[in-house]
Every structure is written in C-alpha cells, then in structure tokens.
Subunit: 335 residues, 2 copies
DNA sequence: ATGAAAGCGCTAACAT
DNA sequence: ATGTTAGCGCTTTCAT
C-alpha cells in the first residue's frame, strides 16, 4: 500500500565508511576496534541516520528493547496507575512496553506471556497474576521476569516486588474491629479465579483470630461490576455493618450502590478500599484505603529487571509495606 | 543467561512432513497447495506445536501482529480508559499493543512513533497528539495510522476518529452561560504545547460569541498538577464563578483545591469537566462533564486500522458527537 | 503442486 | 584491527 520506509542498513554504513559490515557492527558497540574507528563510524552513522534495526537484531538473538508488561485487569484503576508508572520507568531506561491485559482471565495471562516471549521481549513484568502454575517456570526460564504483587512460588524469577498483603489486610480488619464492626462483607475479584490468594487467606485467618464474621463475596473487578452486587448485598435487612473491597475500583461501585439505596457512608455502612487510588481521597466521604507506593513499586520492578538484563544473576526481592489511610468512609457502626 | 526456548522452526516442520520449507510456508497460508496438503501440514504443525516466528516474519517484511498505541499522557484518567478500551479491541483481533506514553511532551510523540515503526508495528493508533507536523506525513506514509481526537490535517492517515470538540465546548459554555456565569476560567493542558488546538480555539470563539469572559489557564494534565493552580486561582478575591476543565482529571484537582479552601461546589464555584470519566458521576457533587463513547471510539479506531491492514485503501472517518452530562457540580452563581 | 535458492539486516565465529 | 562467511526463521522468486 504505502511506500515502506528506506532505512539505512549496516551495509550502507559499511560502504559509506569503507569498512566491512562486521567492523561497523563492532565499532558501533565499541569492541574490537580502535577508538579512532569507533569515532569515525559513530559520526558516519549520525550522518546517514543509521540506527540498528531492532527486529533484525532480535532475530539474530540480541535484545529488542521491548519489555512485556502483563496486567491482570486494566479495568482496575489501580492497575492503570501501575501501568503508567512502570511505563514511565521503562521509558527512562530507553525501553518500550508491550502491554498485555488479561482482562480478568487468569488463564489468559500465561497465553499472553508466551506470545510476548514469541515477540522477543527482553524481559517480562507481570502484575496481579492468577494462581502460580508450572508453566510460569518455563516462561521465567526463557526470559528474565519480575513479578509485582504476590510472588510466584517456585518460579525462578529475576526479581519480585512483593506486597505485604497480610499486614494490609490485618490493619484493615483491625481498624474495622476497633471501630466496633463484627460483621463485614469482603468483596474480592480473585475469589473465583484464584481462591488461594494471600489476601483472601489473610482475611479468613485474621477475621477468625479477632472474632469477626466475614462474608467473602466474589466480585467483578470494576466499578460497574460491583455496583449491582453491592445493591443486593446492602438491600438485605441483615446487611453487614461494613464492606471491605479488595480494590478501590470495587469500592467506587459500592459508593454508587449506597447512593442509590439512600445509605449514608459511614453512618449506615462503612466502606474500605484497598490499593489506594488518587481519586479515593476526593470522594465524599473520602475512602479509607490501603496505599502502596506505586512509583516505588514501579521503580523497583524495572530496576530488578534492568539488573537482570544487564546480566546480574542475583534474584532480587523487595517487600512493600502498605499504609492504612483511615479516612472518612469508616466509623463506628450505627445502632 | 537462562536457556533460550526451543521453538519448532519451519524447517523442522518441513522435515516432519517430508515437504520443503517453502511448501510448508505455502500450506500454512493455504496457497499454491492441494487441500489435502494444507490439512496434513496444519495437523502436523499442531502436533509439534509449530507457530510462525513473528520476528522472523517481520524481518522478511511481513506483519508482526503488533500495533503501536501512542498516548499524549497516561497521567490523564480518560486516556487510561482509552488505552484499556483500545487494547481490548486489539486483543479481540489477535493483535498486541506496543504502548508509548508521550507523558505530556508533544515532541516526544513523533520520536515514539518512529521507534514504534522501527519495531515493525503493523499500524499505529495515536490519540491526543501535539500540533500536526510534516513528520507525521512520513510516518503515516510508511505504516497505516489512525488518529483519535483531533485529526492531523494534511497527513495521509488510514482513518480518523474525530471528536466534535466544538460542539462539546459550545454546549459546555452554553450550559454555564444559561446558568448565569459570565466569568469562567478554562484550565487546559494543551495551551502551552499545542496552542492552536481546536478545543481552545473553540473556547475563545464561542465565549466571544455569547459575551462570556474566559481566562485560559495552562495546567498540567493531572489531578496533582491542577490542584496548586486551582488553589491560586480560587483564593483570589475576584475569582471566576465557574471553572471549565478540559479534562476530568484536572477537575478532580480543582475539587481537591475547593475542599482545602472551604469552597462549596457549586454554591461558591461551579466546576465542569471534559471527557467524562466513570468516577465523575460518583463525586460529590457529581461532576458535570462531556462524554465521548470510549468503547465506540476504540472500536472505530481499531476497525479503521484493521481495514487498512486488510488492504482496504479507503480512508475512513468518524465524527464522535459528545453528550453533555449536566450534573450537580454546576448551578447558578451565588451572589 | 512442490523444491531450491536467495535474502530481509544483523552479529559471531573464524580467518587474516 | 579488520574482512569473510555463515547463519537466525521466514517468505518469495524462479525452476521443475
């Protein structure tokens, strides 16, 4: 259809400089050649606008400069923020992001990961992933991989940014308990797809420990997914005194439902989120939530990957400790 | 570092089937060969798990299955939604998104576009772009490109999804005017980078037409960018009676500022957004804004690109008409 | 209908 | 220090 571009090739640069292609290749990477040649070739490349073709280089086995970024669901606002932050860090390192959204289907994550590897990404960053499976081992074995969130047990990743979910959950339930809540609904997007997830396990365990009755309710990721569910949940006569949403996006849907039902937050029902999103503090009432430092997470993840790409074999690990931001959406239950 | 994967190659498949590589290549694409061979090769491919290497194919000049997606700024929540929607549509077509965030720097957009072309994306989808420049012509000439938002005048794009910004702006200003507002501050993220943008031009023109005094204020994209600015703007004695934000994200920052200043919306100041975001209706008061159907936009853009990739040379164009959602953040100015 | 051979642009052995 | 050669995995002439 339209005319393909006519990029300068290494052979043209070779002809231009009077060298061979390989000499040029070496010169551009500053190996095997004299400093003088390096300089001369660099300048020549500049002149004719030569830049190595990433695809050809990739075919040969080299790096592409692309990093695969796998997200559990972009419908979740916090994940959107994470993608933004990670992409920003990647760009600072001269890398591109090949983003793949599993859209809530854990099964799709592996499939996407494989595709990304097929596309020769130099590395992989995977955030909220479904339950660990053997197949991740093969992936992580073929390309450096960094996880964000829950770690993939038994998988030889290059690094992991682990969320201390337990302490986040503990703090949240403790907060509600202190306020006097004894019956709490917990809305989780992972219940059906990844039942053994740390967060849900922690909820059950800690609730039992402090003598709190929790109802775990599976819930779609997004604002629109949680609204109808919350309508049901809160319309019933014996509604819980508090709702703990394992994602702020879910909490937004609950706000919506409360407004429709004429329920006041926190007078009639307390609402808590998770993974504090910038908007949460703007809501009325401002949403109590648990914050992870997204920028720090993104920086660590890309840093780990960068180190692995640079040949550093040491597995790195960072545990991110959350901050409970008790705001106006939680209070003692009404009588 | 870790062992590279050992994908089946076309030669292996050739050996396996007793055919030549070229015959296999043809068979897989169902050309030049007997139906029987096609079937046999397909089955064999299945058996040994062969799939064409996208990188090798790309080097040869074929398609990569990757689409470049250029966003003006991912700091903007609406853009995040757009990316999500577009990626979803792309995935439905079996395509991957190589996402590039210009992060508010229009100059970076072209640079990113070039890089994406270097990476052999099959096509390009570019949303909020800076001012049109000649260089876009070269890009759009080398790879099918679809724009979202303002069209790139004079650039041979494969398609454009054009926002009828004028009518959005007109409706918004009209709405404020009807309520009785005569002095309105307009917060725009494009003022410095792309002064001639349709939206800003429309604001000036229509404000003059209806006898409204507007102050155009340049403003960073995000919530955090607009807050300090709004603090200044609204603290002054002769503050405008309404603030029109050319992005909901900006409006969120204004909400924040109002809360800090103890200003009531809309009693003390009316606030309007643009590009309705799902959260806007949840705010208190709910934010008056102008909605574009994101899903429709994404569908059209990927559809246009898909058609172009399929060889359809006809340039396509869709004009998206906005809906003004008058909500609770706008009212008659107080006395 | 199928095979042989060339080549996309690059890099890494192996000369020299 | 530089040149020659041989591929990476695929598609496409050009033969047969």
């Amino acid at each position: 259809m339209t005319g393909r571009r006519k990029r300068a090739t290494i052979r043209e640069l070779a002809a231009y400089t009077g060298l061979s292609a390989s000499a040029v290749s070496y010169a551009l990477r500053g190996i095997h050649v004299s400093a003088e040649t390096v300089e001369r070739v660099r300048r020549a490349a500049e002149e004719i606008g030569y830049e190595a073709d990433p695809i050809a280089r990739a075919l040969r086995g080299g790096a592409t400069g692309m990093v695969g970024l796998i997200v559990g669901s972009l419908a979740d606002f916090w994940n959107q923020e994470l993608v933004r932050a990670v992409m920003r860090e990647l760009r600072a390192r001269g890398l591109h992001a090949l983003v793949a959204d599993a859209d809530g289907e854990p099964g799709r994550e592996l499939e996407l990961a494989r595709r990304l590897v097929d596309h020769r990404v130099d590395g992989l960053i995977a955030s909220p992933v479904g339950p660990p499976g053997d197949d991740w081992g093969a992936i992580a074995g073929s390309v450096p991989m960094v996880t964000i969130g829950d770690a993939l047990a038994g998988v030889p990743t290059a690094g992991e940014v682990v969320f201390d979910t337990d302490s986040g959950v503990t703090a949240t339930l403790g907060h509600l308990h202190t306020l006097g809540h004894r019956r709490v609904a917990v809305l989780s997007w992972a219940l059906e797809t990844s039942p053994g997830r740390r967060a849900e396990v922690a909820v059950r365990r800690h609730a039992e420990a402090i003598g709190m009755e929790v109802m775990l309710v599976p819930c779609a990721y997004s604002l629109n997914g949680s609204r109808p569910l919350a309508l049901d949940l809160l319309a019933s006569a014996d509604r819980p005194s508090a709702v703990f949403c394992l994602s702020d996006s879910i909490a937004y849907g609950v706000y919506h439902a409360c407004a429709e039902l004429g329920l006041a937050i926190p007078a009639d029902v307390s609402v808590v989120g998770f993974d504090d999103h910038p908007i949460s503090r703007l809501l009325q009432p401002s949403l109590t939530s648990t914050a992870w430092d997204v920028e720090a997470v993104a920086r660590a993840a890309t840093g780990f990957l960068g180190d692995a790409l640079a040949g550093n074999a040491a597995r790195q690990r960072m545990v991110v400790v959350p901050t409970l931001l008790a705001r106006a959406s939680t209070a003692a239950p009404g009588v």
